[in-house]
């Protein structure tokens, strides 16, 4: 095909890219579909589509989930607004890039011994805390030790359970010594609790002062209300285009959206899905709808009747019309799950496992095989699990009726749902935040002896593979192992994954971002303040 050029169309596509509506892949395929040659399209992409980010301005971000009772203690970071703030005023050893790969933050490089038991991280030289003090190995070690040991009150102790020791090799090098090999350790370092704080002389950390090594420095701060920040000149990474930033807690979804519409803020997190179509009509607002690894799961106790029969479990998986749920409950802001807990944007996601679809007839025949016709089960849920959670279960019950299954939706109280219902009731609905790697997710909730093995599923082959894959540094081999595990979870496991929910947030048109958005947290992996810029 000869290279035809269509300058008008190309210019329009380039404009879409600049607005952040098109990623590279979409741009290329649209341009090629329009008869523009590959070489041409790709040169347009690099030369034309991307105006370089500009510096300047004060960025105001309205965030949900902020509490008066939040603190600077990284071990108790919990509310979403603190996670968003943490990625702005503090740094981590590694970070998840906008393309969902692992990239450097305060560690410039890392390597492992062949058994994946010892991991050495080199800290970037010249990185400083906001008070000008250089970041050294001591700070990193103290920051990690904050989450280790018996007295630690950190919610991240489980994450570092396998770490036997952390040693200082020189001023800018630390080595993590693990009890068992873990090829994912650099990924774990992106966890939002593991922020780098300045070390005290006794080996503890000074988290109270709110000092960090992040791209922005706090100038004024009130928990649960707002935070003012200015650019940290000693920031070691890229970005930090805004001169100043203000991060404002706007818990009420309506207040958040109104603030965006009236120009009180430049961007907001978490939109109300029910009013999404109304907001789309506003010409000044851009909505970002980003597939994430956050999942809805429905665990069934595999050691309890009727779920102890794999045919019953699979019948329940087949009796759900996921597309219908995504359309009616998530308003199109989710992607269907395939009953294994690895989202497409996670590493090692197997692309070639067929998507499970709604098939009430097959479900019926499976029930017949199990001798469980006329199956009736209770499904526990609370409204707080997900916006529209109870409606979703009622809709599922309607789907299941066609397969001859009677699902009785039990509405539980919001308060204490995760302490009184989850892990206690044999069939319930759960929302999971995104986890960085399959190993983290599987070890947390699918391993036979995990505290949170929410489905009581104990498959020997799965657990054997999980152990083997954990320390496997050969990427190809590892991918094959995870594929087999996913297949096992899908066809034998006790957890229905109806969908992975998207992150849906919005910004004023004058705010720009790169072609990709990280899927680890809302607003570009919670790094909007340092990655975005004003046009």
């Amino acid at each position: 095909m000869p290279e035809t050029s269509n300058p008008e169309l190309l210019a329009r596509l380039a404009a879409e890219v600049r607005l952040g509506r098109l990623g590279r892949r979409e741009f290329m395929s649209l341009a090629i579909a329009a008869g523009v040659g590959t070489t041409m399209a790709s040169s347009v992409w690099t030369s034309n589509a991307f105006a370089a980010p500009k510096k300047g301005g004060t960025f105001r971000l309205g965030m949900h989930d902020g509490n008066t009772s939040d603190t600077h203690d990284p071990g108790t970071y919990l509310s979403f607004s603190m996670i968003q703030l943490a990625h702005t005023y503090r740094s981590y050893l590694t970070m998840i890039t906008p393309t969902n790969e692992l990239g450097p933050d305060i560690a410039e490089s890392w390597e492992a011994t062949p058994d994946a038991k010892n991991w050495t991280f080199k800290i970037v030289k010249g990185a400083t805390f906001h008070n000008g003090k250089e970041v050294t190995a001591d700070d990193v070690i103290a920051s990690m030790n904050h989450h280790r040991g018996e007295d630690s009150t950190s919610a991240a102790t489980a994450l570092l359970k396998d770490v036997n020791d952390i040693t200082k090799d020189d001023k800018h090098t630390v080595t993590f010594k693990l009890a068992t090999g873990n090829a994912d350790l650099p990924w774990l370092m992106t966890d939002y609790h593991l922020a780098i704080c300045p070390a005290n002389s006794d080996g503890s950390i000074d988290w109270q002062s709110g000092l960090g090594t992040g791209p922005y420095k706090i100038t004024n701060h009130e928990f649960g209300v707002s935070t003012q920040l200015v650019r940290h000149d000693g920031w070691h990474g890229e970005g930090a285009y805004f001169d100043e930033a203000e991060m404002i807690v706007l818990n009420d979804p309506n207040a958040r959206q109104t603030a965006l519409v009236t120009g009180e803020v430049d961007a907001v997190t978490q939109l109300e899905l029910k009013t999404l179509s109304l907001l789309k009509r506003n010409a000044n607002i851009e909505i970002d709808n980003v597939p994430s690894a956050a999942a809805i799961s429905m665990p069934m106790f595999c050691d309890q009747a009727p779920f102890d029969d794999v045919n019953v479990r699979n019948a329940l998986k087949l009796a759900m019309d996921r597309e219908d749920i995504i359309k009616k409950i998530a308003f199109g802001t989710a992607i269907p799950g395939n009953d294994f807990h690895v989202a497409p944007n996670m590493p090692y996601h197997p692309d070639d496992i067929p998507q499970r679809t709604y098939d009430p007839d097959k479900a019926k025949s499976l029930l017949k095989k199990a001798g469980a016709e006329g199956l009736s089960v209770n499904l526990s849920v609370a409204d707080s699990v997900y916006s529209g959670a109870v409606d979703m279960c009622v809709l599922y019950a309607e789907h299941a009726k066609k397969a001859g299954i009677d699902i009785n939706v039990v509405r539980e109280p919001n308060d204490g749902y995760y302490s009184d219902v989850w892990l206690k009731k044999p069939f319930c609905m759960v929302q999971w935040g995104a986890r960085p790697t399959p190993d983290v997710m599987f070890s947390l909730a699918y391993k036979d002896d995990a505290d949170w093995n929410e489905s009581h599923w104990k498959n020997p082959r799965f657990n054997e593979l999980l152990r083997a894959a954990k320390a496997e540094l050969d990427q190809e081999k590892r991918a094959a192992q995870y594929k087999e595990m996913c297949q096992l979870a899908r066809d034998d496991g006790g957890t229905i994954i109806p969908m992975f929910t998207n992150f849906v947030y919005a910004r004023n048109k004058k705010v720009q971002h790169g072609p990709n958005l990280a899927a680890s947290w809302q607003c570009d992996g919670a790094r909007a303040v340092s990655r975005w810029w004003f046009a």
Binding site: N67, T68, S69, D151, F223, G224, D252, A255, T262, D415
Partner: protein, 318 residues
């Protein structure tokens, strides 16, 4: 006047007992909530060991009565302890928030009380006319709508559509007083709409009630103009019920504004209380509730004292 003093002293004593009883009830209520502060602070991600470690650190491994008595021992000498979550003194946590709430309440009251009483007098004067009917219907409509709904309606028309006022009441320390009034106008107006009807209708009812008494008829017969009858003769005798209802509404302006705070993102004490209950932060919950209770007690006391002062029959012994 010694009567007034003895009433005040008696009522203050009773108030203290009330506060004590309330503190016990609040403690029991917080204890009865499912989950505890350690779980709430650490969230879903915590292990049993974490939770146990934090409980120990916060002294939650002590039995409940001992924890309460510990708190009480501090409270009687004015030390309300530290917030269990942030470890900063309760006064520091609550102080600025309570100041914000008081400011908003005063702002709303400064508009609502004169408007309500003047409107009440006017509708009493023009009773059963079209004006009376319209004023009553509007007042009753605003009092029957939930606050958050009123807030949203005001935001829609006065902020989103016309851009006259900001939609969120975000405060910053370098604001001028005028900016502050402008920023907080919509929440104040919402609260005005909620409380005006009650006070206006009570004023109207009290005055109309008096207008049928013989001494008013006498005044009319001697040719006193209608407005003078109301201001000079009826109103002084109507103060007692009006003051009572004003006091009740003032207390509401301080204690009942959580929804308004949420809708307008105003950093007041209501939001703090809700956050603290979610986190089971007992000391802060306790202090907030005691402030609310004390507000009610003091405002009611003030209302009674004022009622006595404005009523000569109660002021002098026979």
């Amino acid at each position: 006047m010694s009567d007034v003093v003895s009433i005040v002293l008696k009522r203050l004593g009773l108030g203290l007992i009330t506060l004590f009883v309330i503190s016990v009830i609040i403690f029991l209520a917080v204890e009865m909530l499912p989950g505890d502060i350690a779980q709430a602070v650490l969230g879903q991600g915590a292990t049993e060991e974490n939770v146990a470690a934090l409980r120990k650190q916060l002294g939650l491994d002590q039995p409940a009565p001992i924890r309460y008595l510990d708190w009480l021992a501090g409270a009687v000498v004015g030390d309300f302890g530290v917030s269990l979550v942030t470890q900063s003194p309760v006064g520091e946590v609550i102080g600025p928030r309570f100041a914000n709430t008081l400011f908003l309440a005063c702002y709303a009251a400064a508009i609502a009380v004169p408007v309500a009483i003047i409107l009440g007098v006017i509708v009493a004067l023009l009773r059963n006319t079209l004006f009376d009917r319209v004023a009553n219907v509007m007042a009753l409509t605003s009092i029957s709508s939930p606050e958050f709904f009123l807030g949203y309606v005001l935001i829609l028309y006065l902020s989103v559509k016309t851009g006259m006022f900001p939609s969120i009441a975000k405060l910053s320390p370098d604001m001028t007083f005028f900016e502050l009034l402008n920023r907080t106008f919509l929440p104040a107006l919402t609260m005005v709409l909620v409380v005006v009807a009650h006070m206006m209708r009570m004023t109207r009812a009290a005055i109309i009630n008096l207008l049928s008494s013989p001494y008013i008829e006498m005044a009319r017969l001697k040719g006193v103009p209608a407005w003078r009858v109301i201001i000079k003769h009826a109103l002084p005798n109507a103060w007692a019920p009006i003051i009572n209802v004003v006091a009740l509404n003032l207390a509401y302006l301080i204690t009942g504004v959580v929804l308004v705070e949420v809708v307008f993102v105003y950093p007041g004490i209501g939001q703090l209380l809700v956050d603290s209950v979610t986190k089971r932060d007992f000391t802060v919950v306790q202090a907030c509730c005691l402030i609310f209770a004390a507000t009610f007690i003091l405002l009611n006391l003030a209302a009674d004292v004022l009622a006595i002062i404005t009523n000569p029959r109660l002021r002098y012994k026979k």
